[in-house]
Symmetry: D3
Subunit: 242 residues, 6 copies
């Protein structure tokens, strides 16, 4: 089984970390490849960044189809391009906010999301609604550390830990969902320190897509997610013609 | 990894079938044991049946804890006793309607549930709300075949197939969720005939609980699902004292 | 008119208090009998306790049917076994959280629930949704006094009163719902002290079921709540065979 | 106990029928007085009719307060003037759609409303939302018989009965709520013919307000429903100055 | 184009201010006339006041129809009489809470409403639901200044400004909606001071109704909002007969 | 006032038609410019098409900012790129599904959407939720005519008219919303034939954005929709660097 993990930003150092976490999560018999698209923003912290990441993600899905990928993970907590990716791929496509929230729903009364910048909380709230998680999600909190500072900022771990404790207290929640692929490496330690389950999207996404492949389940091609109709795409690079 | 699958009714022929499906779904490295409780109804087709199945389910969870089970599946589409089971078990507990609906949410715009008797549709509707699946579930349909007739009734497969086609058409849905553990064996054939993904709860539940164990995730013991306070249980058999 | 009030726990001292409150609430022409089941937990403070209380409740409903009861009250704020009880009884069955919330909806913009232990708030929240009370219920608060300490703890009244004042203030609510049958005796005094309506479930439940009997209304037997189909119940005591 | 039933339209023949039904429903120890306001429309079949009925209803509430009424019923299925009436009355005020829907919620999985003209269904839908009955109400149906023809039209009973059967079938409902005070006299016969509980608002309203008076519960005066601030009312008849 | 703005209270000084704001907002080619009804309360701060304002509003709509008005604005934040007015008018009718909330929905993630007295917040909450604004409205706040003191109270501007800052902070909102026609004159200054868009209902209402007239759009007469059926209106002044 | 209308597909013949409708709708004092992006699909009928249209839309917004546009309309019923566009533009940005649904909410009890292909109905449903229109939208219907055939197919008008009649009947709706910018020219005739208001997104969008500019209202820059943080955009054409 070949799983392609797409980090929608173009920062390959982060892609390498994501690949490491993904491989650790992945059971035997599955091969993980993590990539960044050839085009797009260096990090995703606005609707604009997210919009510009999508063509690159879709190009990677198309390449994955040619290369025989069995499933895909979109590894940014804004879940960019998910619907379009599902139209293109024969196998299942899972996004990390989606996977993390679904797993968290099995673990307690309600979860809190702890993410990077406050300006991204709106997008997280949209996804909570989209996935039907209003009953399960009790709050969305930011720690105001930009995505690419998560590794460099020496206080990052401390700030995130405090944001998690504060979220559990204010939301009366019993599970934490980490709201950025760049936090994947903190997951296990945080869980021990907080005393509650902590769900990271990268490992969640990889495990979920593996499950779907194992179950023989993929996106329905019955109507909305059927392969797009072929048409003219003006002014775009070659890969986008179907 | 040791997964205990509890068929909440006391019909061991059905338990054997469930075990077979569960083992087929289960990857290497996991051992599946399927059981029926020592007490309870022969099938579950009413709120009364469901209520009477719960003490037996809980006794099996308690036995599983003593025996070192890593996770549990409650294999009846009414998901009986789920909250109480989560208080008792150290590892994750997954119920089959819950698992099937969560997987189905990854596969299309919306699913239809096809179940046995019309009188059980209300319970399915309650579960749809509980799991936040109102956006995803587009209809609940019964084929009016009792649980224990699924294997005996020579028309069962035909009636269920027609109910599925009808559901897809009326609900404008693109995924089918099978609403009874006794339909697990039909899953693959139905999917081919219908041309849409078909999700069976038994395989979904086993795969989901395996995923959670692999991810190191289990029910939060932070508040609501902490171990129950010890107290006197009058007039009950021994196993219920904590 | 004969109303059977079932205290789902096995603490008969509490049953006696409930009977006293119920009789005081009850108009002339109705006879109240309060009972505890022969089996079950001494108090209900977890999903596990609640699950184990249900068979005993159902046995009491079955006995009530033989004895000619006209209606039933399930007197625990978790409303255990309500759906199953409705399948068994010819007359109406009312649970106390259900009755209290419905009456409270007539009294103001929104109510706050004040209950015993924090770990039971999740169940109360589930019932708020089940009864469609999300618009009316503005908060659920615990005072962290266990059910059986309500009578013994000399600070109980003070702690509960403070929790009520705090709830009214934080929730901008104008009505209080007491979240435990054991608080029934505080209802009138609390209302005077708080200056807002306070609804107790025991008196609410008894009054509601009396109303339904008077109106000639009982559970519909049209489909879901029809009498359960007869079947084999393995390993259970005699009363559970229909 | 003195209960004042206000028929918001000015057709006294209908008021007399309402009084008869109300008295039959009412237990001993309560005195029922039914009135029509001095001003208003002869029947209520539009938002305009409803708006013009409100000042007359409020004048009757004010008169009731002077005369020592213990509680009030607003006997039109649009529940006109309910919030304002609650500000004026010391005792509880219950409207008939409100009471009927709350009682119906105790009786089954879901109810259908059968009312008079199609143009009033929107108002009924607004009330379903206001009372949190979206889970319980499965459909609103009109039989296209104007309010004042309910008694004269020889086919009325037949048309209404057919509309009820059709509603049960199409909505998969198990309870009927009658959507007009003028249908009160049909309630018992319809229930027998349909084989499901049928709830009429007039008897429901009278019983509900009696219950609230018995329980010592009335509208909270804590904030929103406190007595209105005195002010100048220009160009209106005397009774409206507080 | 002739737009009639109805201030539902009878304080003509406020009507004059509303007219001034409305004319300033209104583009060329539209003529604004602002009126108070001949009967009704001097200000609207309760459900009772609101109910008593409605007949006067409807009389003004009927007069406007005779005088050739092309559209109407109901200029009180409780949006009194809106449904009935739509049945009477050939042209569009817009109420100011409705218009303000719809415009605010285009401007950010979520708005806070800042209104006069706390007792009116319930009505605002009802309107938020009616207009489907639960996703957009993040809080309703009162500054406890009565409507007619907005102009006289020397601290009014300061208190309102502080309430707005507090609302933005507590609600994590990014837009303010002013909850009273009497605050229209503060709109522009507040927006500058707060640094976020501030929407006033009067200018919003006038602009919205002008848009609808320009687009040739008016209330559907297809069913619910068709002209009311003619009938007898007892005890009311002449204008109410259709 | 300068309004830039962006037709997200690259079919300039359709852009010219949109410009004509927009100019007809637009009052004096506003200048309309309609454009297609330099890159993107020839029509938008899938999530994939929509995703690929977004970079071109954003490039046009950036060009508009340099050219002094006062407001923008995104003229495709899927409302692509709306959030990102709002981050970039100083003036208001309105999308046509958004504008059409908001105007329709003022016109009746509920609207039906009639659109092109069935596979786009899911996106329309997502937008209904996003804009809080679940109460107002009663159904989404497709006529199975591709976008670019709307002008060529001689039966298009007939098929659309029948779909509208059918929608009004099945949904009990009283307003029609046209679900494609390519249907703008049919709006007035359809309204006459159907006897209900018909809202077209292009004229709605242009009128709405003009209103917002006149009111001095634009997207809040307070948090989520503040200008994106500058960062590196790899492999993209020049215009995307901020």
């Amino acid at each position: 089984m070949k799983i392609k993990v797409i980090n929608p930003n173009t920062t390959w150092a982060m892609t390498a970390e994501i690949e490491e976490c993904a491989r650790a999560a992945c059971g035997p018999g599955a091969f993980i490849e993590a990539v960044s698209p050839a085009m797009g923003p260096s990090s995703i912290e606005s609707h604009y960044d997210e919009a510009l990441s999508v063509p690159g993600i879709l190009a990677e899905i198309m390449a994955g189809e040619r290369d025989g990928a069995d499933g895909y993970v979109i590894a940014c907590f804004g879940d960019p391009g998910l619907d379009a990716a599902r139209e293109l791929a024969a196998g299942p496509v899972v996004a990390i906010a989606e996977a993390a929230m679904h797993y968290a729903a099995f673990l307690g009364r309600g979860f809190s999301i702890v993410t990077t910048l406050g300006r991204t909380c709106g997008r997280a709230a949209d996804l909570v609604e989209r996935y039907g998680m209003q009953r399960h999600c009790r709050g969305i909190h930011s720690c105001e550390i930009p995505v690419l500072d998560l590794d460099n900022n020496p206080d990052a771990r401390k700030v995130i830990t405090e944001a998690c404790f504060d979220a559990l207290d204010r939301d009366h929640s019993d599970v934490i969902v980490l709201g950025c692929a760049g936090m994947a490496d903190l997951c296990r330690d945080l869980s021990e320190e907080l005393g509650v389950p902590v769900v990271d999207g990268v490992t969640a996404g990889v495990t979920m897509v593996q499950s779907l492949v194992t179950l023989g389940l993929s996106t329905s091609a019955h109507n909305e997610f059927a392969r797009p109709l072929p048409k003219v795409y003006t002014g775009m690079l070659a890969p986008f013609s179907l």
